[in-house]
């Protein structure tokens, strides 16, 4: 083998290069399984804020120490590690959430959702959240409430928060 080519592939020492490559592989694996994940949206649930088929980066460590806050976009684990739901947190544990003609009410008080382009006309009777439950919904309020996947989710199912 040409010595220049060999140097390019193996570096000064083949052993050191192999260990570095193994180390890099481990770090990359940890980074993209435990810290960050790239996901592609499939569906119109978050439109128009987030376009169908757009690519997003998720921080899997975001809620390891803290708790999700109202208005944050989170990923929710279904089964396995490849498919997640992407929804916005509307209600926090212990709160009562309701909708009246598109207006969100938290504990009976109107709450403005500045991130929405279209408030819609959703109406929903009050839902009281348990101490480990959050209320989530997508931003696409033009879809009838009966056809939009929204509702309560257990804290343990929230796997991370949107980075961008």
């Amino acid at each position: 083998m040409n010595s220049g080519f060999r140097r390019l592939i193996a570096g000064r020492s083949l052993t050191t290069t192999l260990w570095r490559a193994a180390g890099l592989a481990v770090i990359t694996w940890i980074l993209f399984t435990q810290v960050l994940t790239v996901c592609r949206l499939d569906g119109a649930s978050m439109e128009p804020t987030m376009r169908d088929r757009s690519v997003r980066l998720v921080n899997l460590l975001k809620y390891r120490t803290g708790s999700p806050a109202r208005g944050e976009v989170v990923i929710i684990r279904a089964a396995g590690r490849r498919v997640f739901y992407l929804k916005r947190i509307l209600g926090l544990p212990g709160e009562t959430v309701s909708f009246e003609n598109g207006q969100l009410f938290i504990d009976g008080e109107a709450h403005d959702e500045t991130y929405l382009k279209d408030q819609g006309i959703w109406t929903m009777s009050p839902v009281i959240l348990k101490s480990s439950e959050y209320f989530v919904a997508g931003d696409n309020r033009s879809v009838p409430i009966t056809r939009h996947l929204m509702g309560t989710v257990e804290r343990g199912r929230i796997a991370g928060g949107l980075l961008w």
């Binding site: 083949l14 052993t15 192999l18 089964a79 396995g80 929204m150 257990e154």
Partner: protein
């Protein structure tokens, strides 16, 4: 020229890879069998073209023998309760005859086998696409399948629709 430290590193790496492969092989036999059965079920349920009556009935029977007798279902609003294997064959035949094409893709899964290794829970995210009357329909569902180890291998003894996001009552 290969030096001694390289030889030691290579042997260490090879030992780790062999150990992991052996552990995967020994631990994963039941997992592989269940996932193979699940793939078989998905393949049998799929339909790519119009079928002759006999072929459709044979498929329905092949589907039914992947379930225990009886099998429990909680797939509201379509199918709930306890069903015999014969019922399952009839339901599979009916479902497949209603559509011109049907494809099911398991988008994600999580398998948990009980410590006694006689039962297992397979949580899946399944995407079904069907063509009926020339129109395509698509649905994404979380489906939980409970499996039992029997003399005939691993069989499904319960199928339930689940959802990480629970809709409020009445919606």
């Amino acid at each position: 020229m290969v030096n001694r430290s390289f030889q030691i590193s290579a042997v260490l790496l090879l030992t780790v890879i062999l150990g992991l492969s052996l552990a995967w092989f020994l631990q994963g036999r039941d997992e592989r069998r269940i996932l193979q059965r699940q793939e078989e079920l998905v393949e049998l349920l799929s339909k790519t073209a119009l079928e002759k009556e006999l072929a459709a009935l044979t498929r329905a029977r092949q589907i039914s023998i992947l379930f225990t007798d009886p099998v429990s279902t909680g797939m509201e609003p379509y199918l709930t309760g306890s069903h015999s294997r014969q019922d399952m064959a009839g339901l599979a035949y009916h479902l497949r005859s209603m559509v011109e094409e049907l494809s099911i893709e398991i988008a994600d899964h999580k398998l948990e086998i009980a410590p006694n290794r006689n039962s297992a829970v397979l949580a899946t995210v399944a995407r079904a696409k069907a063509r009926s009357g020339g129109e395509w329909m698509s649905d994404l569902r979380e489906v939980e399948m409970r499996w039992s180890k029997t003399d005939d291998g691993w069989l499904v003894n319960a199928v339930t629709f689940t959802s990480a996001i629970k809709r409020p009552e009445g919606l």
